[in-house]
């Protein structure tokens, strides 16, 4: 028997350490399991885990709901989801409070007082459906289905709303995109096909960010912040951010470059100028894959010098030159943009100018570069209703022929001017009375006016600022009670997912597709009107099952049944608990496919195809690929399979087809006391619908105006002082927050605060007399320690429309900031419809039909004017 003393043990252990380390370890701490299971801390029983899709905001993360005794007690990320890899953001963690909100609407409510008076009567679904159907029937029998208007804010119904309007034969469908990202989309689509990019941040070496708060709020912030962290930490990528404000993204960047609002495009062009003049471009890529030559580009970019851009943007010349060289010489590199460049009068030009940087440097579809989005489709249940026969002016106004994502924020003015008559309005997850420019002064006025909107049905479970003005509220259900298909291009691996009910609908909340089906059945009980055939399904699950039938791969895996179990398809790998990455069976990180444009066409594809003098491969009347160096590639998803640096369609309407920049006229020659108002979002709120979510409201509930110390000193204000922010259409009184993190000529006020609807928490009525009934004994609400709900700025922001992309110019408003006067009170907001109307008329002057269009485009002197373009047929019928 061995005799081991402490002395011999210690002596021996020194020599055995290497062997000990080499021995395989098969025991891991439980907390290293990254999600997928959860236990009750009280009884230790495993909670029921149901995969679903988060829908607090529109990133569409994979989520798991943990249900204990029928109640959702916790939400976390789905570890099988390739994009979000087991992580949810703060908003996603709080999502169950949508369902359990004590101010939630659970029954159909019919207005009984004057519109907006706040008096309601609960009615049954049968009564509600009969009433809505009768209204629709009256319009349909009048023969003008376009008099039925539907405006959605966030539509992730997987085609249900479109099916509804197509069934009715109405083309009057409005969305929220013009207040969101439309000019980003329009800046990109004619150039390379898709409306968004999917940068490979994790493998990049240089990330140039224009006006995007991607680490906390911009599109796909959850998956992208993970990848940016990997890129900057593991790959030592440099992150450079141009922004007017020190966002958390700017703060986490290697460099934050404050820039004058709306001038990102000028800086991007100057960066391109340096790259081209110093011959740092990727000539082979440009000559192979674009519709211009390097020589053309060098000539075109000549005027966009760093000196020129510096004068406009305030960014030093040497910074522009240095960043240009760094970007061009560091491979791989990518840009990212969001609202910063796009939400301006000429946002589409700005986006295009930024997008040119990865094109010039050949960083397209490369590992670590600027990649095409990867998405997956699902089906629409057959039969599918045909599109409406008559176009709607409101949906596609003649003055904005290039704005493929609509110009919905101008609709109140068009309706007021009688461009199109509306008899029935539906709104769906859309609160323009709060979220749009002009807010209550514009949309509130429209929705209150029973002559302009004779009947308004709000499809919502919450009493938002818009619902307060409805004639009838149909209680839709929050996302944890819905069936919806989902797919988002938020990773380099395409995926399909579902939202499935993790609890049954509360009260008499009903899913959208269910009550729409019931409305259609009421309108067409025996099918004789040809409408009912599109709405023959037993329940939402059956409808969804049809959407996932016959999808190769998924079908074999089990279709909807697979998705109900996993929440997402395909599953590319397993989440490695050591680094949070997806790994394959061998333990290696999974790798995406790059160079999608270089996929080759098969012999079958080429059968019967022809190749023109530019190498474009045509078949059956359309371009299917591009021939280069003897290879037949699929190219890019554009009309000619190339990247169109020159967008000929823009020239048709007198816009510059090449990358360019237009300074906002009213930003020139600002007076000393004038500034630009900018708005922003933070990481715990979306535009309007999170202010009533308990945990999120506690984290962020007020929105003081950010002012630079230089500005504040001039005004004589310090943090906490009241300031009056006055625009040409109104004014607001709010508190100042003095910080170096803001451009001196900019004042920044966040959205998401200052509600006058959305229940008592959003309005902070708990702290006022009114809040002392109702939910006052909620243990969470007892903890409401704050007494400031903020002030909402949208009422004082006038409409501006990008004449190309249709975007609202959110960041174009000139304001004067002064110390508040003796009669100013915190929270005062005043705005005027008439003044907003005047701005609407002004912005229409920049449309291609307007008198300022040619003034703004002297370089398009050869354009023959609006009469040279064939107008679309008059639409709307009124």
């Amino acid at each position: 028997m061995l005799k081991i003393t402490r002395r011999t043990f210690l002596k021996a252990s020194a020599g055995t350490s290497a062997a000990a380390l080499a021995a395989p370890s098969m025991l891991r701490a439980m907390e290293l399991e990254l999600g997928g299971r959860d236990f009750s801390p009280e009884v230790a029983a495993e909670r029921k885990a149901i995969p679903t899709g988060c829908h607090v905001c529109n990133i569409q993360d994979g989520a798991i709901a943990y249900v204990e005794n029928g109640r959702v007690v916790k939400l976390e990320g789905n570890p099988e989801h390739v994009s979000t890899r087991g992580r949810l953001c703060a908003k996603g963690n709080a999502g169950m409070w949508y369902s359990y909100d004590p101010d939630r609407i659970l029954y159909p409510l019919k207005r009984v007082g004057a519109r907006g008076e706040g008096k309601w009567k609960r009615i049954t679904w049968d009564e509600a459906i009969a009433e809505v159907s009768a209204r629709l029937d009256e319009v349909l029998k009048g023969g003008e289905p376009n008099e039925i208007m539907l405006k959605w804010g966030r539509n992730r119904t997987g085609g249900v709303l479109e099916r509804f309007m197509n069934t009715l034969g109405s083309a009057t469908v409005l969305n929220h995109t013009s207040v969101c990202e439309s000019s980003k989309k329009i800046g990109m689509e004619p150039t390379w096909g898709p409306d968004i990019e999917t940068p490979d941040f994790a493998n990049s070496k240089y990330i140039l960010n224009f006006g995007s708060n991607i680490l906390e709020a911009a599109y796909f912030h959850n998956p992208y912040s993970q990848r940016i962290a990997e890129g900057t930490v593991e790959n030592q990528a440099k992150l450079v951010t141009f922004d007017v404000r020190l966002s958390n993204t700017a703060g986490r960047s290697d460099e934050w470059i404050p820039i004058f609002p709306g001038t990102d495009g000028a800086v991007a062009l100057a960066l391109g100028h340096v790259i081209l003049m110093e011959d740092l471009q990727d000539t082979a890529f440009i000559e192979t894959w674009t519709n211009v030559t390097v020589a053309e580009l060098k000539e075109h970019y000549k005027p966009f010098t760093p000196v020129w851009a510096s004068e406009i943007s305030g960014v030093p010349v040497e910074t522009i030159v240095r960043i240009a060289r760094e970007f061009a010489l560091t491979k791989p590199a990518t840009t990212y943009t969001y609202r910063g460049p796009a939400k301006h009068l000429y946002g589409s030009y700005n986006e295009k100018a930024c997008m040119m940087l990865p094109i010039l440097t050949g960083n397209i579809e490369t590992r670590g570069g600027y990649c095409l989005p990867r998405g997956m489709g699902y089906k629409q249940p057959e039969p599918v209703p045909p599109k409406p026969k008559t176009p709607s002016y409101l949906a596609h106004p003649d003055e904005y022929p290039l704005a493929g994502h609509k110009v919905s924020h101008l609709v109140p003015f068009w309706i007021a001017e009688g461009k199109q008559k509306i008899k029935v309005l539906f709104s769906y997850q859309d609160n323009p009375v709060y979220t749009n420019p002009g807010a209550d002064a514009v949309w509130g006025k429209l929705y209150r006016d029973e002559k302009l909107i004779p009947y308004y049905v709000c499809l919502s479970p919450f009493m938002g600022e818009e619902a307060q003005l409805a004639d009838l509220i149909l209680p839709d259900v929050p996302y944890l009670e819905r069936w919806e298909p989902e797919s988002m291009p938020n990773s380099l691996w395409p995926w399909l997912g579902i939202r499935q009910p993790v609890i049954p609908p509360l009260g008499e909340g009903r899913e959208t597709k269910v009550y729409i089906r019931d409305i259609i059945h009421k309108l067409d009980p025996d099918g004789s009107r040809g409408m009912r055939q599109y709405w023959e399904f037993k329940d939402p699950e059956e409808y969804m099952r049809k959407q996932f039938e016959g999808i190769p791969g998924l079908q074999e895996a089990g279709g909807l049944d697979w998705l109900k179990k996993h929440g997402v398809w395909p599953i590319y790998g397993k989440l490695d608990p050591r680094n949070g990455k997806m790994v394959d069976a061998t333990g290696r990180e999974i790798q995406p496919e790059y160079g999608l444009h270089k996929r080759t066409l098969s012999a079958d594809d080429m059968l019967g195809a022809t190749v023109d003098e530019h190498g474009i491969i045509h078949k059956n009347g359309k371009a299917i690929g591009v021939q280069r160096h003897g290879q037949n590639y699929v190219g890019f998803p554009t009309h000619n399979r190339l990247i169109n640096v020159r967008v000929d369609e823009w020239a048709k309407y007198g816009f510059n087809p090449m990358p360019t920049f237009k300074r906002i006229p009213w930003h020139e020659n600002l007076k000393d006391d004038e500034m630009i108002l900018t708005t922003y979002k933070t990481n715990v709120h979306k535009q309007s619908r999170t202010a009533a979510v308990k945990w999120l409201a506690e984290i962020m509930h007020s929105n003081p105006a950010w002012l630079n110390p230089r500005t504040a000193k001039k005004l004589g204000v310090k943090t906490g002082d009241l300031v009056r922010v006055e625009s040409p259409v109104g004014y607001m009184v709010t508190k100042a927050y003095v910080t170096e993190g803001i451009h001196p000529k900019t004042v920044a006020i966040s959205t998401s605060c200052g509600h006058w609807g959305y229940g008592r928490l959003a309005q902070l009525k708990l702290r006022e007399k009114a809040g002392e009934f109702g939910a006052a004994d909620d243990p969470d609400l007892k903890n409401v320690w704050w007494d400031d709900k903020g002030v909402h700025p949208n009422a004082i922001i006038p409409v501006v429309a990008d004449p190309i992309g249709g975007s609202q110019g959110w960041y174009d408003t000139v304001v004067k900031v002064t110390k508040a006067g003796p009669n100013d009170k915190y929270g005062d907001v005043q705005a005027s419809w008439d003044k907003h109307m005047a701005f609407y008329k002004e912005t229409m002057r920049y449309a291609y039909t307007g008198d300022l269009h040619r003034t703004m485009h002297p370089e398009m002197v050869a354009w023959a004017g609006p009469e040279s373009v064939q107008h679309k047929a008059p639409s709307g019928g009124h």
Binding site: G70, E772, A831
Partner: protein, 257 residues
């Protein structure tokens, strides 16, 4: 502070009462539970209102101190039904109101733990909730009251059959339900409702609810703190802004339209 309704507890279940008297008491109490349930479970229907306005019922209620105003006594039944439907919605079903739902009052949201607890209690007792005109939560006041009424009826039936042990078990079940649920919120809720409502029907029903609750708790010997407290200190007419767009907190465009 409004005077609490006084319900004489010495009229029910004296220790020496006969079996028949005890059965009668159980059934009378069950009637009160049902009467109160009818006020809260959904908008009161014409039949219920007609019965309530009958001279006998009014007289009986008057003896307890329940006195409705002209807004309840005078309108035609259909008009009263409409008026109360509007009032019901504003009090209990519209955003900004205060639903008579235990989860909301005690736990800050719909369908929280209380809802599942009472569902389990009902299940064990062999009940399930079915929708009436509208779906209701298991922990809605009207349902909770109906549940006790059912148990009281069962008590009476058990006594009728001579099953004293079963009757005692059911009494304990009722006590437990008051201790864990009704007793924890409906008195404060009654205070709140009485002060907020603008209709004498709900005002008087709130008073009756509160007085009846106090009497039942005393009768049952249950001592439990009400967690609701009914904190309202102002009338609803003063609550401008909760849902009133014209007086919006933002003050946007006031007078500029």
């Amino acid at each position: 502070m409004t005077e609490v309704l006084a319900i004489a507890t010495d009229t029910v279940e004296p220790a020496t009462a006969s079996r028949a008297e005890r059965c009668e008491d159980y059934r009378l109490r069950a009637q009160f539970y049902r009467l109160l349930s009818g006020a809260f479970i959904e908008e009161p229907a014409a039949a219920y209102l007609s019965a309530l306005r009958s001279p006998e019922t009014l007289a009986a209620l008057a003896e307890l101190g329940v006195r409705f105003d002209a807004d309840f006594l005078e309108p035609p039944i259909t008009a009263l039904e409409q008026a109360l439907a509007h009032e019901y919605t504003m009090l209990f079903a519209a955003s900004g109101g205060f639903p008579p739902v235990e989860s909301v009052r005690r736990q800050g949201g719909y369908q929280q733990a209380a809802c599942f607890e009472v569902r389990e209690v009902y299940r064990r007792a062999g009940f399930q909730v079915v929708p009436g005109r509208f779906q209701v939560f298991e922990d809605q006041l009207g349902i909770e009251l109906q549940f006790v009424a059912e148990l009281l009826e069962r008590c009476a039936a058990a006594l009728d059959r001579g099953e004293h042990l079963e009757a005692r078990r059911l009494e304990k079940e009722i006590k437990r339900f008051w201790a864990l649920h009704l007793g924890r919120w409906i008195r404060g809720y009654g205070v709140l409702l009485e002060k907020v409502t603008e209709h004498s029907f709900y005002r008087e029903m709130a008073r009756l609810l509160r007085g009846f609750a106090e009497a039942e708790l005393e009768l049952l010997g249950v001592h439990v703190e009400d967690e609701d407290h009914g904190k309202l200190k102002v009338q609803r007419s003063e609550l401008a802004g909760l849902v009133e767009q014209g007086a919006s907190a933002c003050g946007a465009c006031r007078g500029t339209d």
